[in-house]
């Protein structure tokens, strides 16, 4: 198999800041009318003067520190000149040869163990506006432009070409998202929060740059398509051309943008409206705001709660889930809490294509697990309550009552066991004569009589005890 070489440029929107990078326009433009979150600065009107948002620089520093990158002594903004209507000024304010940080890495898990995905650099820039094409990109006759996004604070995080499969790229992005969400500067569930350009080549071949990958799922799809395309070209003896391609998410294909081979001439020069920055002087302020990061939290969860590495990994893969678990584990046995959150609740969410942010309050799960712990409801019943709360919301106790999920009293189960033993002499004598699987049948009968409200474990225990007594009596 040919060796695959992938490098990623990840554009991360610092979308939890309150205002844009160079102006006071609010960042909550999602679901708003077009061109309603704009001002003379982000519209690039003549004479408008940008001023840097301190919080954006601090957020950039926090990200750089969390990614183990080296923050530079001096950093400054440049004008990157190009004519494209996504930025009305004719240039993007970005960074060039003095980026915020160099180096760094993200540790990911691969099929062959841990791997450090090393980073080239991290720089700050403004997001351009959004162009849409009525119809499809290759047939539209004009573009529609919305500048609400223009001027949003972005970090561009560039990896070295060290990623060797689409799957690795996906887990790199997932890990990056986790870390950014831990830092509280980023909400990955918002549309356009993370956008990726990928450089892909097969060993020895030219590389293609695929632009416009804007969803987590899209990354694997786009990369896999591109790798197959390049392999097929090679098979037919055709050289892969160096080019820029556009990912069409709806069709799952990459298409050539037929740009000229010559490197774009952006004529970078220092932005005269923005004085340079010395970001290291901000490190002391930022340092204290950096929370416990995913890998550290994972280790602590294993030590403090005695849960498995697998559970610790799943629970810390999202800051919301980790916090949720800690709330529950304060009151409920951590092992039980881990299973119910990482396996069952997460599974139910995945099934519904829901995010953890949409889940009911931890207090509600605590109530459910308390009922389960004292055997007032069965595991099956607990799952039912969780499903109802996800689908319709509501109070766990009320749901238990409405769906009649309270487990039967043990004395009542005893009574039903006696009944079943009386009514099923054949199964009973089968069991006594050594065919132990007859027990399952008897348990099933009790469950049926109780309409699922007997606890299966208890039923099992009681039946075995009663059958043993029979055995003694008959011998």
């Amino acid at each position: 198999m040919e060796e695959v070489i992938i490098g990623l440029e990840v554009h991360v929107q610092l979308n939890l800041l309150k205002s844009k990078l160079f102006c006071q326009c609010p960042t909550d433009y999602h679901n708003s009318e077009p061109n309603t979150h704009v001002c003379p600065i982000c519209l690039g009107l003549p004479g408008a003067m940008p001023v840097i948002n301190r919080k954006a620089v601090e957020a950039g520093i926090a990200v750089a520190m969390a990614l183990n990158a080296e923050i530079q002594e001096k950093t400054l903004f440049y004008r990157k000149n190009y004519f494209y209507p996504d930025l009305p000024r004719g240039f993007q304010i970005s960074q060039y040869d003095f980026p915020l940080a160099y180096g760094g890495y993200v540790t990911i898990e691969t099929d062959s163990g841990e791997k450090k995905v090393t980073l080239k650099r991290i720089h700050m820039e403004e997001d351009p506006g959004r162009l849409t094409y009525p119809g499809t990109i290759d047939t539209a006759r004009y573009s529609l432009i919305d500048y609400n996004r223009s001027g949003m604070p972005l970090l561009e995080i560039v990896t070295e070409p060290v990623i060797s499969s689409p799957k690795e790229a996906r887990s790199f992005l997932n890990k990056l998202r986790t870390i950014l969400e831990y830092l509280g500067v980023f909400d990955g569930s918002l549309e356009g929060a993370m956008r990726v350009d990928a450089n892909i080549s097969l060993k020895g071949g030219a590389r293609a740059e695929v632009k416009n990958i804007s969803s987590y799922k899209g990354v694997e799809k786009a990369l896999s398509f591109e790798i197959t395309r390049q392999k097929n070209l090679l098979k037919r003896g055709i050289m892969v051309e160096m080019e820029t391609r556009h990912f069409d998410e709806a069709r799952g294909v990459t298409i050539s943008l037929r740009t000229k081979e010559e490197e774009q001439d952006y004529r970078y020069f220092p932005e005269p409206d923005l004085p340079p920055m010395e970001p290291r002087s901000l490190i002391p302020d930022v340092k204290d705001t950096i929370p416990e990061l995913p890998d550290a939290k994972r280790r602590r969860f294993m030590e403090e709660y005695g849960i498995s590495d697998y559970f610790a990994k799943v629970l810390t893969s999202e800051i919301r889930m980790a916090d949720y678990f800690e709330k529950v584990a304060k009151v409920i046995d951590p092992g039980l809490a881990a299973t119910w959150i990482a396996d069952i609740l997460k599974g139910e969410l995945n099934y519904r294509d829901m995010e953890f942010s949409e889940v009911f309050e931890a207090e509600k799960l605590i109530q459910v697990l308390k009922l389960l712990a004292v055997k007032k409801i069965t595991e099956k019943g607990a799952v039912k309550v969780i499903r109802v709360m996800l689908d319709e919301g509501g109070d766990p106790l009320k749901i238990v009552r409405r769906l009649d999920l309270m487990v039967m009293d043990l004395s009542e189960v005893e009574r039903l066991c006696d009944e079943v033993i009386e009514e099923n002499s054949q199964a009973v004598s089968d069991y006594i004569s050594g065919r132990k699987e007859a027990l399952n049948y008897l348990v099933g009968q009790v469950m049926k009589k109780s309409r699922g409200k007997a606890d299966p474990g208890e039923t099992n225990r009681i039946l075995i005890r009663k059958l043993k007594e029979r055995e003694k009596d008959s011998s």
Partner: protein, 92 residues
């Protein structure tokens, strides 16, 4: 010495169409500008580059949201609009 190629390339990047006789005019302009910047060659070596005319750094504003323009004001100068969007050329 600036070549015709370079002049045409710069014109293209600036989206300016040049007629053949205009290339010569621009060569003259370009040469004047470059001569002027040639002054920098007389500066002694080992001097730290300066990126900004003022000796200031870390000039920031707080992360506080403010007023925006309304859609009507935003569109006031636009030659073509459609449903609150600017209408622009097809690019790719």
């Amino acid at each position: 010495m600036i070549t015709d190629e370079q002049i045409r390339h710069v014109a293209k990047l600036a989206r300016i169409e040049l007629k053949d006789d205009e290339v010569a005019v621009f060569r003259e302009h370009f040469e004047k500008i470059l001569d002027y910047f040639g002054m920098l060659d007389s500066v002694e070596e080992n001097i730290e580059p300066v990126f900004h005319v003022l000796d200031i750094c870390n000039v920031f504003r707080d992360d506080v949201p403010g007023e925006c323009l309304n859609q009507e004001e935003v569109m006031a100068n636009a030659p073509k609009t459609e449903k609150g969007y600017f209408r622009g050329p097809r690019i790719v």
